[in-house]
């Protein structure tokens, strides 16, 4: 420990103003100035992007839409609601893993987990007020700028809004109780954990209600042929896109929360002065990245499910999404999500430096990189490559004969499955990095030995359930002719093959051949979910495309069965294995921390961009097919406008949350002093 740090420590203990106080003061001024600059730039951005809108629009009645001091109402709503959504994602997403960390600490009796969970809580508690404030600002601006729409919309959702308000009050009470009663309930941890679980449940309720409003605007329910609302608030709430959007948002919130706290930990790591702090924040960053990747792994499938449901609501909306106006946004999304996977893996590989024995696995990393980067390259290949006239002539068309196939959905589904499996392999390498001298499987206790058969039964249940469901599926239910049942049977057959693979893998593990079992089932998953069903997807696209939804589900279930079974085998294999050495937390290169910060920035941009897509799919409709936006701002903003707006919102969010975290740490500093 350096002398200067010691002096600070003494000053802190004596509650004397430390040398850091002045720095913190300057930091506060800098943070305030930065925030003000960002807000001002956001204001100017809105003004510039969405037009010089000083003149009144003769076609728009003042009681329909109003401007915001001359600024575009749509731009103002865009900025406010997006900032609200980003903060809300953080407040709702972080409690999920905070409670999990607290439970682990409680059950293990390990105070470090408790400290970590408490630090997470301090962060989301600090952002709760601004989330609520932005929510209120959003409501006021919506009523002020879009009075006609607001009256109609809130007239429909009236009773739901009362529930929303009540749940929000409960959320406020539970959140602050959970935060403030941390010390008081140390001896009654069960009660405190139950408060945390309540917080998660209430937060999920808020996600449901908030999402129901945006999903209603895309897929209105309770509407008659004339477009009049004849249903109840419950009908509006349970609109067709509610569940797909909620599933996608919950996973997205988890990913978002993980990566944001990861970036917070990275900044704290880089500015740490003691080994203890470095170790703590290194661990915190690892947890953030772990949570982020755990949420990210099922997200592509949740997105696919949402996309199929959007097609179900309206083929036109679906076409605009994947082949039309927003198709280029999805190419940018592929790039961003690809970067999330690459950087998440990169952080894991960089972290292997702190694990004794990890050098044994370094040689595999280059193969992972080739697969991962190759898959990302395929994923972001558009169907219509931008071509110069000379290239068009040389190719003889607008679709490249060789690369065009990479732009189709079946290819995308295949490569994302491979990306997920590769990321999973990285985790396996990380887990076993410091393990040696495995205990023979037969020498394990009953609990460990039964883990693998139990996982096998779970996989068999999942795969068997879906296979039998496919066999019982009537082609007429998908508007297909009877001979198309072949496609159902073929896919079900592959699921049965996977089930045979599960049984074999469990048998091999029980006979002490766990590594072989892992390799065998991993191969089965890659061959079936990536290669066979990837190619089969092209055939289904041309011959029985309504079945694509079931095909993708089969791919995903095979993938999930691989994650479950191989994880269970790994847990059993390495149980009580000799450790080459403990993880040297804090011993990690600084560049890996910049990867954590980049992950945070990228997830914010991704969420901002996908919100633009979801909202933009309605084109010039407030409520799709029911209430049209007749104002002059009812155009679809271009990709260029989107990138500037989302970029500005990302900077504003980062500045605001940095300021809030800084404030939270002032409180944390005081807590430590006390």
């Amino acid at each position: 420990m350096s002398p200067s740090i010691s002096r600070d420590g003494v000053r802190t203990a004596l509650q004397l103003p430390s040398a850091g106080s002045n720095r913190r003061g300057r930091g506060a001024i800098a943070a305030c100035l930065g925030l003000a600059a960002v807000v001002a730039s956001g204001w100017l951005l809105g003004a510039q992007e969405l037009g010089a809108l000083q003149q009144a629009d003769p076609l728009t009645r003042v009681d329909d839409v109003r401007t915001f001091f001359g600024l575009s109402p749509r731009g103002v709503i865009w900025i406010v609601v997006q900032l609200h959504l980003l903060f809300a994602a953080f407040v709702v997403g972080v409690p999920w893993f905070t409670v999990a960390v607290e439970i682990i600490g409680w059950r293990k009796g390990d105070e470090r987990y408790d400290r970590l969970a408490r630090e997470f809580t301090r962060l989301f508690a600090a952002t709760f007020a601004i989330t609520a404030g932005l929510g209120g600002l959003f409501t006021f601006t919506l009523f002020g700028l879009y009075p006609k729409f607001s009256n109609y919309f809130f007239g429909i959702f009236g009773p739901i809004l009362y529930v929303y308000g009540a749940i929000f009050l409960i959320e406020t009470a539970v959140l602050y109780l959970y935060y403030q009663a941390w010390d008081r309930l140390q001896r009654r941890k069960g009660l405190h954990v139950s408060l945390g679980v309540s917080l998660v449940i209430v937060g999920t309720g808020i996600v449901f209600i908030g999402s129901s409003m945006s999903s209603f605007m895309m897929s209105p329910a309770g509407i008659d042929e004339t477009g009049a609302f004849v249903g109840t608030a419950w009908d509006a709430f349970t609109n067709p896109l509610l569940i797909p959007i909620v599933v996608h948002r919950l996973l997205g919130n988890l990913t978002f929360g993980g990566f944001v706290v990861g970036a917070y930990a990275a900044v704290r790591f880089l500015t740490s002065r003691t080994d203890e702090d470095r170790a703590h924040y290194d661990w915190m960053g690892y947890v953030g990245n772990f949570v982020g990747l755990m949420g990210l792994i099922p997200l592509p499938f949740a997105g696919y499910y949402l996309g199929r449901e959007v097609y179900g609501v309206s083929p036109v909306m679906g076409n605009n999404m994947m082949g039309g106006d927003f198709s280029w946004a999805f190419i940018i999304q592929a790039m961003l999500v690809g970067l999330l996977f690459i950087l998440g893996n990169y952080y894991l590989w960089s972290g292997m430096r702190r694990i004794p024995g990890a050098e044994r696995y370094q040689k595999y990393i280059k193969y992972y990189i080739v697969v991962l980067v190759g898959c990302v390259a395929v994923w972001l290949t558009p169907r219509n490559l931008p071509l110069s006239p000379a290239e068009e002539l040389a190719i003889g068309g607008q679709v490249h004969p060789l690369l065009g196939v990479l732009g189709l959905m079946s290819t995308k589904n295949a490569v994302i499955n491979l990306i997920i499996l590769t990321t999973f392999l990285s985790f396996l390498l990380y887990r076993r990095a410091n393990k040696a001298d495995l205990v023979p499987f037969r020498d394990h206790g009953l609990g460990t030995r039964s883990l693998v058969p139990l996982a096998g039964v779970l996989c068999l249940a999942i795969l068997g359930w879906y296979a039998t469901r496919l066999l019982a599926l009537d082609p007429a239910a998908l508007d297909l002719t009877p001979e198309k049942v072949f496609y159902f049977r073929f896919t079900a057959g592959l699921l049965f093959v996977a089930m045979a693979g599960v049984v074999t893998a469990v048998g091999l593990t029980l006979r002490g051949r766990g590594h072989l079992a892992q390799g065998m089932y991993f191969t089965v998953a890659v061959v079936e979910a990536v290669a066979v069903l990837g190619v089969f997807g092209f055939i289904v696209t041309t011959a029985a495309n309504p079945f694509l939804r079931q095909l993708a589900a089969a791919q995903w279930l095979i993938l999930m069965s691989a994650l479950i079974l191989i994880s269970a085998i790994d847990l059993a294999l390495f149980r009580n294995a000799r450790s080459i050495g403990g993880i040297r937390w804090g011993d990690i290169a600084a560049r890996s921390q910049y990867a954590l910060i980049a992950l945070c920035v990228i997830i914010i941009m991704t969420m901002g961009m996908m919100a633009y897509v979801r909202s933009g799919l309605r084109e010039d409709w407030h409520i799709y097919g029911v209430m049209r936006d007749t104002s002059r701002w009812a155009f679809t903003p271009s990709i260029a406008v989107m990138t500037r707006m989302v970029g500005g919102i990302t900077i504003a969010f980062l500045a605001a949350i940095s300021f809030l975290f800084w404030l939270a740490n002032l409180g944390g500093h005081r807590e430590r002093v006390e």
Binding site: V316, G324, L402, A543, A544, N545, R591
Partner: protein
């Protein structure tokens, strides 16, 4: 997810990995160059070998850029995921720029001259006035006009016999009106196709008529290239408007025939999972 148990010295270097080479930077450059050459010259020939094109189709500049960008990211990730390798990787360019015991002065001077010249050349290429038609970012399936979206093919509602008769009639109409460009089987290889600047699409390709609902080709046939928005590059299409030549009913029959000819099915509006 073990908690922090041990704290190490952050300045401590990791043990050198077994596969590290002193010429990491050079080999990375060589690998990237080899990858570029494979993309530029190998892949088009692979396309011919695989039978997807008759002549080598060049890889567009945009694709080269994104693939080389991915390869560079991969190379940087590989180089920086190990401390020793990263130091070796950075060592070569740093020595070239600031000098070192084993760096020839002429080589260093050459690098210091070449880097700004290359940067200047790149800037010049970017801002130089050009008469070339710019590269176009194109949409595959632009937004279908609202009035077309809800339309359904009335011929599909007919009895089996009537539908088969309609399909036969559609085939005759297709061969008469569409075959010259779109080809006998809808492969985009009709006798007039070679006379067009860009070849018509292949209907059997999974990304064309199979990926849209039937009202989409109805709109496209009826209104032709003139109704396409700019984002779909109407100037790249020779598709005429058929609304003055064919009745709506005839167009629907032709659509039925096109799907039958290409062995594909139109996209069916999906049912919601509720």
């Amino acid at each position: 997810m073990d908690g922090p148990r041990a704290v190490g010295d952050p300045g401590r270097a990791a043990p050198p990995s077994a596969g590290s080479e002193p010429r990491v930077f050079l080999w990375t450059l060589v690998t990237l160059l080899a990858f570029y050459l494979a993309l530029r010259f190998g892949l088009p020939r692979a396309g011919v070998w695989m039978g997807v094109s008759e002549v080598p189709a060049p890889i567009p500049v945009f694709a080269l850029w994104i693939y080389m960008l991915c390869a560079t990211v991969g190379a940087l990730v590989w180089a920086s995921s190990d401390d020793r390798r990263w130091r070796l990787f950075l060592g070569a360019p740093v020595r070239l720029l600031v000098g070192g015991p084993h760096v020839d002065r002429r080589v260093r001077t050459g690098v210091l001259v070449a880097v700004p010249l290359l940067a200047g050349w790149a800037v010049w290429q970017r801002v130089m006035p050009s008469t070339d038609v710019p590269t176009v970012v194109r949409l595959q399936h632009p937004t279908q006009p609202e009035e077309y979206a809800p339309l359904e093919n009335p011929v599909r509602a007919l009895s089996d016999d009537a539908r088969e008769a309609a399909e036969r009639e559609g085939l005759v109409l297709y061969q008469t009106n569409c075959r010259p460009c779109h080809g006998t089987t809808g492969g985009g290889d009709g006798p007039l196709a070679r006379g067009l600047r860009l070849q018509p699409i292949d209907f059997a390709d999974a990304g064309t008529i199979a990926s849209v609902i039937e009202s989409y080709p109805f709109w496209r046939i009826r209104t032709g290239h003139a109704a396409l928005p700019d984002i779909a590059t109407p100037w790249n299409s020779a598709m005429p408007s058929w609304e003055t030549e064919l009745s709506d009913d005839e167009i629907w029959r032709i659509i039925l025939a096109e799907y039958a000819l290409s062995g594909t099915e139109p996209r069916v509006p999906e049912r919601l999972d509720r």
